[in-house]
């Protein structure tokens, strides 16, 4: 159903949108790597002792993840997705530069990097969620390279790598994203809504949904995200000290997130996401002893991520930044007990129980009439402007 006067899709629209997404995904990796270099570089050169490092990492994560809902509200309200993504990347680069140039300014540098990372995530998240409204593929592809960036940043920081390559990469990619974004308008009028990255003027067509159903669906999805975060961070894999295995593990995270969205859109959200959680449980349970089981388990485990993100965004049409931020707040809440050292590593039975609970909650959330319909339904209900570049 297309509204009269709505912009028409043009040949190449999809390609342009996907090109912007690829740029944003590359920038995601660069921003996360820059943060890793900042923090681990400070640990390496002794500016952060053991106690201070623990607290600094906790606080960095607080700024980078927990404040995202607030930034998401602001980005959605002001339609600042493009500006938010680029400003966030610039702030991160500024933080890394400051930490390198003025070692005594480490505290504000970490704060800037954390806040910049949060702002970038929200802006880029909005872009990814609007490239393909109602689908999980694009958000998965946007988020996936972040894990590679984090690992690269940690390794580079530990090795004492200089900051300038990372600052340069972030600056160049951010500039490219800033320049490419408006060019999409000229190249393909159908992408105007993407370029403007703002909500449709009128609400999307929504499923009949009682308020309780909405609240339950949101709560279940965020519970799944928090459980996944807790389990993922609580896993003990001593073999990660081997750089080759660490690289393979990182590749599994990237591949899992990227493939999860594609597979979920192809075969259905519930079977893929819930099945992945159930399949991953036994693999992760033996992952401490067996690197191969652990790597495969992590790959499968991460396939759930794009579905929970896209499903949360489906619940909040036009508020994609807020939805993205909520999932990141849930990530932080799930990680907090582990980051703060409050919980011992899970045993196999507890791990299986946590994965099972998450699968059950996700099944219930996706099954609710309120919320999150299958992608084929979602594609029928999105605003024509958005559908034109899907």
């Amino acid at each position: 159903m297309t509204g009269a006067g709505a912009p028409r899709s043009t040949p190449g629209t999809g390609r342009h949108a996907w090109a912007a997404l690829a740029l944003a995904a590359a920038l995601h990796a660069a921003v996360d790597a820059a943060c890793g270099v900042l923090l681990w570089g400070a640990v390496r050169d002794g500016r952060l002792g053991a106690e201070a490092a623990w607290a600094a990492f906790l606080l960095y994560n607080l700024l980078a993840f927990a404040v995202q809902p607030l930034l998401g509200l602001a980005v959605d309200r002001g339609s600042w997705a493009r500006g938010g993504a680029v400003a966030g990347a610039a702030l991160t680069a500024a933080g890394l530069t400051a930490a390198a140039a003025w070692p005594q300014a480490l505290t504000p540098a970490i704060a800037a990097a954390g806040l910049g990372n949060a702002l970038f995530h929200v802006g880029g998240g909005v872009l990814s969620l609007r490239v393909q409204p109602g689908r999980a593929t694009a958000p998965g592809l946007f988020v996936a390279p972040g894990a590679a960036g984090v690992t690269a940043g940690i390794l580079a920081g530990r090795a004492g790598a200089p900051a300038w390559p990372f600052v340069t990469a972030v600056a160049l990619l951010a500039a490219a994203l800033w320049l490419v974004w408006p060019a999409l308008v000229r190249a393909a009028p159908g992408t105007r809504a993407l370029v403007a990255a703002r909500a449709p003027r009128r609400p999307l067509r929504l499923p009949a949904s009682p308020r309780l159903g909405f609240a339950v669906a949101v709560a279940l999805l965020l519970l799944v995200v928090a459980l996944r975060s807790f389990v993922g961070l609580d896993l003990v894999m001593p073999w990660k000290s081997d750089v080759t295995l660490l690289a393979m593990l990182t590749g599994a995270v990237v591949l899992g997130k990227a493939a999860g969205g594609v597979a979920a859109d192809r075969f259905g959200w519930r079977p893929v996401a819930c099945g992945a959680l159930l399949v991953s449980a036994p693999l992760l349970a033996v992952g401490a002893a067996s690197p191969w089981a652990g790597i495969v388990g992590i790959l499968v485990f991460n396939m759930t991520m794009p579905v929970t993100l896209a499903a949360t965004a489906r619940l909040m049409p036009g508020q994609e930044g807020f939805a993205f931020g909520l999932t990141c707040l849930a990530l932080f809440c799930g990680a907090l007990p582990v980051l703060a050292g409050w919980t011992p590593p899970l045993g196999a039975a507890a791990l299986a129980a946590a994965c099972g609970a998450a699968a059950l909650a996700l099944w219930a959330a996706l099954a609710g009439r309120s919320a999150v319909r299958k992608p084929s339904d979602a594609a029928r209900s999105v605003h024509p402007d958005e559908r034109s570049y899907a």
Binding site: A52, A55, V67, P69, R186, R192, F214, G325, L329, P384
Partner: protein, 95 residues
């Protein structure tokens, strides 16, 4: 004041408060108190998380209300069909 304006103002205030708290906590992290321990830091983190969660819950309640209102509109309305009469002034204005 519109609901989203209020939510935005609240989120801006909460963001500012979060940053102040985080800066204080970072300072605490850089110079831990004699005898160690970061109880104050964890309390500050808890405060930030609770503040953000509170603002988020307010925003979610407003979203739920808006959804309920939108789904109650008749089928013929633009809100139900997702269509609109003409491109709005905001289209592409960010370019």
């Amino acid at each position: 004041m519109r609901s989203w304006t209020r939510a935005f103002a609240a989120s801006a205030a909460a963001t500012a408060a979060s940053l102040v708290l985080a800066a204080a906590a970072l300072a605490d992290a850089a110079a831990p108190p004699p005898g160690g321990g970061h109880t104050g830091l964890l309390v500050l983190i808890g405060c930030v998380v609770v503040a953000v969660a509170a603002v988020s819950i307010v925003a979610l309640r407003r979203l739920a209300t808006r959804r309920a209102r939108a789904s109650a509109l008749p089928e013929e309305s633009g809100a139900e069909t997702g269509g609109r009469d003409e491109p709005g002034p905001e289209d592409g204005s960010d370019a």
